[in-house]
Symmetry: C2
Subunit: 674 residues, 2 copies
Amino acid sequence: MNETALVFAPISGILGLLFALYLSNKISKEDTGTDKMREISSYIHEGAMAFLTREYRTLAVFILIVFMILGLFINWSTAICFAIGAVFSILSGFFGMQVATKANVRTANAARKGQNKALEIAFSGGAVMGMSVVGLGLLGVGILYIITRNAEIVTGFGLGASSIALFARVGGGIYTKAADVGADLVGKVEAGIPEDDPRNPAVIADNVGDNVGDVAGMGADLFESYVGSIISTLTLGVVLFKDGRGVLFPLVLASIGVISSIIGSLFVKGKEDSNPQKSLKNGTYVSSILVLIAAGILSYTLFGGLKAFWAIAGGTLVGVIIGQLTEVYTSADYRHVKKISYQSQTGPATTIISGLAVGMYSTVPSILFIAVAVLFSFFVMGGFANSMAGLYGISLAALGMLSTTGMTVAVDAYGPIADNAGGIAEMSGLPKEVRQITDRLDSVGNTTAAIGKGFAIGSAALTALALFASYSQAVGIKAIDLLNPLTLVGVLLGGVLPYFFAALTMEAVGKSANEMIEEVRRQFRENPGIMEGKEKPDYARCVDISTGAALRQMVLPGILAVVVPVAVGLILGAEALGGLIAGSVVSGVLVAILMANAGGAWDNAKKYIETGEFGGKGSGAHKAAVVGDTVGDPFKDTAGPAMNILIKLMTIVSLVFAPVIAQYGGMLINNLVK
Amino acid sequence: MNETALVFAPISGILGLLFALYLSNKISKEDTGTDKMREISSYIHEGAMAFLTREYRTLAVFILIVFMILGLFINWSTAICFAIGAVFSILSGFFGMQVATKANVRTANAARKGQNKALEIAFSGGAVMGMSVVGLGLLGVGILYIITRNAEIVTGFGLGASSIALFARVGGGIYTKAADVGADLVGKVEAGIPEDDPRNPAVIADNVGDNVGDVAGMGADLFESYVGSIISTLTLGVVLFKDGRGVLFPLVLASIGVISSIIGSLFVKGKEDSNPQKSLKNGTYVSSILVLIAAGILSYTLFGGLKAFWAIAGGTLVGVIIGQLTEVYTSADYRHVKKISYQSQTGPATTIISGLAVGMYSTVPSILFIAVAVLFSFFVMGGFANSMAGLYGISLAALGMLSTTGMTVAVDAYGPIADNAGGIAEMSGLPKEVRQITDRLDSVGNTTAAIGKGFAIGSAALTALALFASYSQAVGIKAIDLLNPLTLVGVLLGGVLPYFFAALTMEAVGKSANEMIEEVRRQFRENPGIMEGKEKPDYARCVDISTGAALRQMVLPGILAVVVPVAVGLILGAEALGGLIAGSVVSGVLVAILMANAGGAWDNAKKYIETGEFGGKGSGAHKAAVVGDTVGDPFKDTAGPAMNILIKLMTIVSLVFAPVIAQYGGMLINNLVK
């Protein structure tokens, strides 16, 4: 195998995109049902596109500023890579959303005939997002590396992907939860109308939120994880193998990953009335096994042994385990969620305490397995005898986790499409049986979303740690010594950032939800016809409020993540910045796991009570569980997922600015203490 | 000044103890009021003593086991120091509680005549605890150092103090919150009887809890902070100055601190009806200023310059600032608590979210100031040119924060005495005016407690970091490199421990509270005469439940803190253990600040609403705020404060076991990867 094999990367990227195009066309041909369904789905589609357009307009300013800074202080090649990364991330979100908001109504319509067709459409919609993510990611990294032959410059692409991801996750997360909380509190609790009732003015915003948060936001998140894991392997691989094998391996493996995901997605088919979860799992298993076989062959061909394969396999395995752990802590089939439901009987306080405890407990095994993945991949590839190879091993573990990203995103994005389909069915007054099918598809989506979140956290931790090693290379320091007080201070500052970030985003949700609550109350008050079903509520106004609030409040957190690492590097120096990264990774991963799992557990504890346990719906326990669920919403859908991106973005910012920090870093403190 | 000045330390220690004895006798001479008051106070006294006796019996087993391990694997001198440290910590808790449970009834009685005398008695009671802590601490460290002339062996004393502190804090914290939550939920909410109503079977347990948690637990906590800061300065001072000046400085300064605290406590006097907070502040200011003057003179005499003074002063200043920050985030005079109260209007979910956000925000300035303290004291004493001196500077900053511990503990322990006095007044049916006075004294206690908590966290962070430096010295490693994956894994494991610990202790409170709730419900059900006031409830049974639950559930967290660092050191090696310490300090401090401030803020948000804001008592906002307060209880009084001890205990365990880890550390992993 020689260097021309590099072209595999962009070719597979294009292949992925073509497959996405094929699926998209197939979905478009499906029937969109009744006029009422079309009307509602067009509201959702327009709301989602309006949000994206306004979001991208805001981001354009940010991209331009960072582009100029990079050009002037680093170099214009990196700046251009950055811009391409940002644009590609935006494009993948855009494609994914376009199709997701087409697939929802068609899924609802297919559900009128049966489960199987509905599952196929919903999953195909998700697969478009998945293929767009990996297609554009691999195309971008592949072509840019072939042109520049410089891994450091390609890092700019990762920076672009990461910054857009942060804004998309935070903005989308604020949007979706503000709409969700607003719709629930006034609609369900105050006005006593069911979920997805068309009389609720916030109902369209709520459904738009599923798309901008769980489709576009999640897609951007995994786009950057995917790109980040490839880039971290590239930067270390260039140093390790002078003959280019270190670069060839991740690019070819990622290419095979794309093709495996395509093949895997063809296996997502079930018999009518079979468990949809099984079909989704089949697809995931097929693509994982294909990638692992390829990794073995590739490892043997390129490196003459199976060390690289073991690192990849270790990462994949730990990724699966962390995903399963998430299920243990957040599914009502296990004791943790049951315990929270039980504690709900003594009121909301005990619900909150037990949920937080479950979230905290869940950090322990997750961290242990991440630690195992780090040590295993380090020692299997090189250990202390060849620590560069060892670090390369850690990046391979991350790559292993993310090699089937196409499939992961497809499964993840399938959830909100099914959720939306249910909403459309409800609002269009389709028969109950339709809603039952979409509910069934949706409930599987909740589980897969939880598993996907665990996966995203685990891979983020490994990617960040691998990028951390690249950073030390790039900045030219041999050690990041904790006995140096500057490093310690860096760790302290890095540790506190996720807390600050979580507080900012949680509060943003609270503020935006309050605006939404006021608006919904106003509409009910001023137009009594709405509740009587005689007047149409002003959906657009609610969509607008969510959009405005999300955009306003995503700016500060986003800027912080970029500015803080550079500032710490310049003021306190390269070692302190190393400490900052390590501190933020550890603290961020902990907060992310806590929030994702506590949030998921509260959600399912509520649902468990709704099945009739501990008094069922309407009981005191249920009311307490609803409080838990509401607290959990910003945890699991806003603050928690943003952590993954925060830690990777800060690491990649440090990596890109490494040349500047190597030259000017710590000047202030050095002058001060003279 | 020469080495004989070392005897200052034990002499001042004895002086502190004599002053405690004097105050204790003075309190005993005060009138104990009516028969009813005496009866109730005897219940509290007996309940508290019963708990302590059973707790100490459990601890005896632990002490014996660790004593044997230390003797066999380290040396018998260290083992003896450990035992003395444990016994001294127990003694200080025992003395303090004895007097606190005497002072409460006398404070209640004095409040029948006026505020001033009541303040004096309550504060004197607290001062006995304060003087016992510093007296025994300084006596122990001073004498043991004079005898052994070996700082490493004296570290055993610190280990004894730390382990008892952890059990006392965790056990006391579980006890007090189980009783509190149990009494409130059944009494106030279900039965609708007021706080401290003698018909509530858990009311005595609740009052006992104030003593075992906030007096004995808090005293043991600060005993170990105090001892830890002196020991960390000693261990570094021995290496830095071969002529003993490095040892003389902390011991003499601590001696002056004791005397300053005695003098300061004499200034805690106010005019009738003056603000009691002002009197307490006066005392604190006087003792701080005296210590600072002494530090200046001592610094100049011993080191021929003011560098050491600046490190001390920097630490003291940052301690004060962190205390004030705590007030900003937890007092209703500032916007944060008002915001939580405002959010309570939309229900418990928004109360919880905004409280968590406030807690998270509050970590930012606290961490920044801790970082400033670290850098300032490091660079002012030596910087990179003399990094040993710099590290000594960090330990001096911690010493500076803790030099007036006598006064800090006195002010802290005053709170629960005033609280208890209020309870006794209520239960004995004293007139309303008496309760008003004790309430006023109590509310000041809440503020001082919050400030004291901030102080405890800041000093714990600095002490742990200083001990961390001592650890690297003792274990003989030159660097703890974050680029070494073993270190990184250590940081990850260290980071997760506080989460595990917090989950364990929070859940313990939940379980114990449930037992208490069941028992109170049972008594009400089986003896209807209780509610009619005809029958006396079975107080002893409730006391027994809290005691049993607390003792059972303090064991696992306590053992974890000792076993994990040794296990990580032996399995993964000395550098990984260094990472573990750093990770646990950063993560633990963050969790501690979050929990202390969120808990304090919820508490005061509830009280703010009770003053009539947002609908006042009984409104929806109030009900939501009560939920916040109940969640905050285990945060601020159990899990949060235990963090401080956890991080210090793990550090000191590592320090004591450094010789073993230096020899055998990492053997497993080294053999494995060969």
